[in-house]
């Protein structure tokens, strides 16, 4: 089968490799119909996540048709078209019993801090991902969800990570009616966090980024105020000036470890890798939120240490909440939102690229070329057209 293949930082290619097999009675083999490149895949692509082995196939956002199921699978059958949450989880361990599916204790032998994730290095369990024609899906009765018949596949694939992560980011902010919410990052997660903040009753939503076309898109798609951080001096002062000197009620980090905006952080964390990425946005969140406010973090950080201004967080009495999204928990409500027309996630998809051109797809997304917001990879022969959500602005 055709699959994306990692060869080292910034180097990938499409290769033919053996099809996956059932390795456990709870497994299914899924033929992929859509897979996305996620902003967090770029941390792997740039070589920032430890134990990303040469030969890995990335891809934790995908939909597909069930081809084969293991002997213990009872609730999924060949032919079902499913969306597959990026978390691999058992549904029965201590953490799954608390609906913390992103923290499952049964699917990742290599690390205890994170559960299993498709195509996300051996630090997240060593599973191959969905940027391929076929993928092994463990715990097939637990994770995959059959896609409602009337749902667009492009909406469905965004339910596997991007939309639930943006929603959870907003929800972890504990937004109350009328709150001012500042979201750092105008990528797909930041865009969906902004949309979700409105659903939760925010009074004002401000999105921070430095790429003009992304800011233009979020302004139009999510009706937000925007800040280009390269046009302002000090971020904390700027936010305080916008909020009567108090600071935002909620700040949300949708950027993670490759934040631009601070030379020292970028040099230490991204170039020299002496800490788990650049903690620039964590500084901005903690210093821009009001006293007693909440900082919500869904941006991905490396497991090594980070220089974070925890003293300021203590002195300001902040609530810090963070996690990988527990996708399955959010699906019923988010499907309702899509079906009711309150959310239309597929509009963020700007590029539809053949899996054979995966190297170009990564480069376009990583370098923010061609007004790229979100890229969907499709198996050969399935490319219909290039959608132009961003280009149509």
């Amino acid at each position: 089968m055709l699959a994306m293949n990692y060869r080292g930082p910034y180097r990938i290619r499409a290769v033919h490799k053996p099809e996956p097999e059932i390795e456990h009675p709870g497994d299914a083999i899924v033929r992929v119909t859509r897979s996305c490149i996620c902003g967090s895949d770029l941390h792997l692509y740039h070589g920032l996540v430890p134990d990303t082995r040469i030969g890995s196939t990335f891809g934790h956002e995908f939909t597909g048709v069930v081809e084969e199921v293991g002997s213990a699978v009872q609730h999924l059958k060949p032919g079902d078209h499913v969306l597959v949450p990026f978390n691999i989880f058992c549904g029965s361990c201590y953490f799954c019993q608390k609906e913390l599916y992103g923290n499952c204790h049964s699917t990742n032998p290599e690390a205890t801090a994170v559960g299993g994730i498709f195509g996300y290095s051996h630090t997240a369990g060593g599973y191959d991902g969905g940027q391929a024609e076929y993928v092994r899906v463990p715990m097939a009765d637990v994770g995959p969800t059959v896609i409602p018949a009337d749902m667009d596949l492009d909406d469905a694939v965004l339910l596997t990570d991007a939309l639930p992560t943006g929603y959870q980011a907003a929800e972890m902010g504990g937004i109350r009616e009328g709150d001012t919410v500042v979201i750092f990052g105008a990528g797909p997660i930041g865009i969906f966090a902004a949309k979700s903040a409105w659903l939760l009753g925010a009074g004002r939503v401000i999105v921070v980024d430095h790429v003009e076309y992304r800011l233009e898109f979020v302004r139009s798609y999510a009706q937000c105020e925007v800040i280009d951080f390269k046009q302002v001096g000090d971020m904390a002062i700027h936010i305080k000036k916008m909020t009567d000197g108090l600071g935002a009620d909620v700040c949300i980090d949708c950027v993670g470890c490759e934040a631009a905006g601070n030379f020292a952080q970028t040099l230490l964390g991204v170039k020299l890798k002496l800490q788990g990425g650049a903690a620039t946005v964590l500084h901005w969140c903690i210093n821009s939120v009001r006293k007693g406010g909440t900082v919500s973090i869904v941006g991905v950080y490396g497991p090594t240490f980070n220089a974070v201004p925890i003293g300021n967080a203590v002195n300001k009495g902040l609530t810090l909440r963070m996690n990988q999204a527990s996708v399955k928990r959010h699906l019923p409500r988010l499907i309702e939102h899509i079906q009711a027309g309150r959310l239309e996630p597929r509009r963020v998809i700007s590029h539809r690229i053949d899996l054979r051109d995966v190297a170009d797809a990564y480069h376009i997304f990583s370098s923010k070329l061609d007004n790229c917001i979100k890229t969907v990879l499709v198996p050969p022969g399935m490319v219909r057209e290039t959608t132009t959500a961003a280009a149509s602005l």
């Binding site: 213990a72 549904g91 299993g116 599973y127 191959d128 190297a359 376009i364």
Partner: protein, 174 residues
């Protein structure tokens, strides 16, 4: 654009009326993560603990757990020098910085091993294509030209420096 949302019992202020779905999840009962940890979980059917997956390949595991998990990925077992480094790294806990630094080092070492493996199989990797060179040329031709210019200038500088060193040596010998 200004249609009211029938599921939203709250009336948005005039400034939010144009936002479809504003306040639809103001009621905590509508929030998937409220309360943030729920027991029992809202899975569609009861789930039994998974049986142990059989291992056909070497699987490293964190020292913070007694053994491997019931389910795991097994596609790329450790091998070669990078594999040795990874085994060493897994002697230390996730709490130990050495664990992560050794894994990062192993990743860089394996990149070299991958190149050697490619060449030993008679495959010369097309690094230009692997790094998305075609997309760069198509969507950022000025950037591509700049990179080429910088590369050529750097090569010229290196060549000049080597030539200069050669001339100095000959002069010293002569």
């Amino acid at each position: 654009m200004n249609m009211p949302d029938p599921s939203n019992t709250r009336s948005p202020s005039p400034s939010h009326a144009h936002i479809i779905g504003w306040g639809a999840d103001l009621d905590p009962a509508m929030r998937p993560a409220y309360p943030k940890e729920r027991t029992p979980p809202r899975l569609p059917h009861p789930v039994e603990p998974p049986e142990q997956q059989h291992s056909h390949a070497e699987v490293l595991h964190s020292t913070e757990r007694p053994g491997i998990t019931p389910i795991f990925g097994s596609t790329l077992p450790p091998s070669g020098l990078s594999g040795r480094l990874r085994r060493l790294a897994f002697r230390h806990s996730e709490n130990d910085l050495r664990h992560w630094l050794m894994l990062l080092l192993a990743d860089r070492v394996q990149m070299g091993e991958g190149l050697i493996e490619d060449i030993s199989r008679g495959h010369v990797p097309n690094i230009y294509a692997e790094m998305g060179g075609r997309a760069e040329l198509r969507h950022n031709p000025m950037g591509a030209a700049r990179k080429v210019a910088i590369g050529v200038a750097a090569l010229a500088l290196v060549a000049m420096a080597l030539k200069g060193r050669g001339r100095t040596r000959r002069r010293l010998r002569g």
